[in-house]
Point group: C2
Chain length 199, copies 2
């Protein structure tokens, strides 16, 4: 078996490098200053590409944010999911899934809220958007799985309720009204709502 010789041509490698540079530049600038305080020009400059090039890799600035942050949310979900396995109470287990996501979302409030805005109002056909939606689906599946532990929740009801839970999460994290709330306050707020809908 010979060494696999990078089955890609120069073109593919260049593209990958550019994508990496853009991702790195955007990650750093967004984290430092927040998405609204960074221009796409600055990202292009830092990544050492033309301004138009950025938009070959992400169709909008919002998509660029999704590209940069999806991995964080995915990680947060996995952490919560495994935590939830060690928790017996259903409500506590649901909250174990939710808490790391809220924490991830609030690492930088503006970025977190913009991420959510993009998810709901952006174009779901864009690849990074689709990935974000896939994470939501996985989150709802994880919540549904926990809900099914309770024998008071039916198979179908679990999926529906999980969707309701994600609606609750969305509003609690996104609303401008709650902009200045801490992670703990938001989690508490979500908990109260989830608690009300468990039979």
């Amino acid at each position: 078996m010979s060494f696999v010789p990078e089955p890609v041509g120069r073109r593919e490698r260049n593209k990958q490098q550019k994508l990496d540079r853009i991702t790195a530049a955007a990650t750093e600038l967004f984290a430092e200053r927040g998405v609204d305080e960074v221009t796409t020009q600055q990202i292009a400059e830092k990544a050492d590409v033309g301004t138009g090039t950025v938009f070959l890799y992400a169709k909008t600035k919002g998509e660029l944010l999704l590209l940069v942050q999806n991995a964080n949310y995915s990680d947060a979900l996995e952490r919560g999911r495994s935590d939830a396995e060690t928790v017996s109470d259903v409500l506590d287990a649901v909250m174990a899934i939710i808490e790391p996501i809220v924490r991830c979302n609030r690492t930088q409030v503006d970025n977190g809220r913009t991420y959510l805005r993009e998810m709901v109002f952006g174009n779901p056909e864009e690849p990074h958007h689709a990935e974000a939606l896939a994470i939501v689906v996985r989150t709802e599946e994880a919540v549904a799985a926990v809900l099914r532990r309770s024998e008071r929740v039916g198979e179908a009801a679990a999926a529906t309720l999980a969707h309701v839970v994600s609606a609750i999460m969305f509003l609690a994290m996104a609303a401008t009204v709650d902009k200045d709330r801490s992670v703990d306050e938001i989690v508490k707020n979500i908990r109260a709502q989830v608690s009300a809908l468990l039979p």
Copy 2:
């Protein structure tokens, strides 16, 4: 008691007239073409005011949309609220409140979704925004009142559940994924979720 002689000076009257012209122009253009296909310039022109003047009456284009549409939602709520009184089943009564709002929201899909986006992500301190939030509060109160008919729902739980219902409504109407769904489909979708959380 003498006739109250318009206690306002020329200044106040001029302001009111400008506001009326701007509101009329925006209402018409938004309805005809959709918020994204109309520029603030065009609204200013149609209202016969300077471009800057528009922004004295609404701080952003989004606020302008709230200004124009708030009354419609308020009316829709009142219609639904009175309809709900004639419906005995709790779930049906909640849906009686919701349906006119969804219908109002879908009169023009893009405007409806932008309205919701502005409500959640806009600046709640702006007057038209505050009014929109007040309508949401009244909607939740109406839903809570219906929920309290059921003796299985506690006093506090009713308010919490009503808030959950408005989260469900928001996502069902706002998400790009559901952009092409009809009013009936959306109402059905909401109904399924609300049904799942009634005890």
